[in-house]
Amino acid sequence: MSDLIVVEDLTKRFGSLVAVDGVSFTIGEGELVGFLGPNGSGKTTVLNMMSGLLRPDAGRISLSGANVGGMTADRIARAGMIRMFQLTRIYPEMTVIENLLTAGFALGLDKRQATERADELLADLKILAYREAFASDLSGGQQKLLEFACCFMKAPKIALLDEPFAAIHPTMRQTLADYVRGTNAAGQAYILVSHDMPIVIDLCPRAICLAAGSVLADGPTDEVLREPAVIEAYLGPNHS
């Protein structure tokens, strides 16, 4: 398997806090990797650096062999690494279809391609009825689905999803999980940050667990979850 993403020694400090401390991992084409770790362990910060929104203090990130270190966020997105935010970032004063078209046009689709793709995604995610509604009028969960859909207007090389399942209704969660599973089977690579263990176990063959900014474990998901260090990080040192 060739390496799609190579992250080496990634480090980020906020003042005296070392939020990400020498993180390294590689991700192959078509892999679906779960990102685990307690609150504040640095998962979002790693994603922020990978997507170009935050400048690493040290370390290298490459996508398909190209260094994306100094690139702007929009260029990284157009190069095929796209991310979804933990706190939803859609365009509230624009309609659902406008949200999707904006993403499609920015990634180089023409009007016909973008419209067709948007309708396809809305149908897949079962929010086609909201096509013309303003995004601010969607529920929180629906807004997440919309942001999710925006990431797939043009199939990225890899999608970085930050807590896509948090705070959404079980049926919608299932819709999302099905979409991730289906597209992954067709070769779509993912990093999936989630605190939802059953879903991670179900979807992700491999997991990386961060704690206090460092990689605690990296391997097949069931093995990672059996690691004593991971159990300790999640449940506290006195757990036996």
Partner: protein
Amino acid sequence: MAARVSSLRRPAAPTSRTQLAIALLMLAALAPLPTLGLEIYWQGVVITSLYYAMLATNWNLLAGYTGLFSLAPAGFAMLGAYVTALLWTYAGVSPLIGIPSGAIVCAVVGLIIGILTLRLSGPYLALTTLALAEILRVIALNSFDITRGEIGLEVPALFSHQSSYYYMFIVAVGCLLIGLHWLLGKPCGLYLRAIRNDETGARARGVRTVFWKVFAFTISSGFCGLAGALFAHYVIIVSPSIGHLLVTGLVMSMVVLGGMGTLLGPLVGALLVNVSSEYLRAAGDYQHIVFPIIVIVFARFCREGLVGRIAMMFNARAGVNAARGSRTTEVLASS
């Protein structure tokens, strides 16, 4: 499910054929007034309103659509006016070349300022444009040997009849609105609005945010310069007062009143504010108190402005109930 649901207010339509049609109808309704006997004085009031409408439309492109807060619309108008005035005074250049030159110089200055400041988000643009507008005005005021300071530079008239200016400004505003409507219908319109809605989100999804912000600022600066240069040859005297910060404040109040981020709003706001300030002037110097109060009231209670509020009323009647209905079911299902 709690996130963002609070904002149930329906945003106004940014542009639409209806808004453009209403704007063009308003201009068409104004057009025959001089032949129907509108006094010269009131023709002048309409001309000035249309000049302000051009500035307001361009400020709205930044603040209303792109979310950029510039304090230089009057500054750029003054720069455009001085370009054509200086070209005429010192090189005998015809206004036909001087006016487009004013627009181009302003666009270039806008481009440079944009490149320097729009990489950064935050208050940098507001501060830089404030400084620019004031520096330009002070230079114009104090370079007496070149600009004749407060006395100003005389420029030639374009027409011998007031009504010709009247028609010229009607055509100029019409073209500006048609052009803006066209632009907003392109992907560019979506990018600009996306930047205003969530710049970080837009960047993360591939929108060249810096490029489009610079683009919007360049266009807006250029057209403010054009408006100023046209206005210069109407008032025939170019002085630093064109660029006064109070003018920018007036332009902002027009946009807020008419409706930020709507195509029609700035025109409506400019006519309302400028025509009514004529009446206020008759009653004394109350305009400096009344308009700030109106702006504060609108900013607090009617943020979408007049046009926005009316558009919302129409939107609310159409097609929203479907979405509202299924939303209720979802809430019920999850509780």
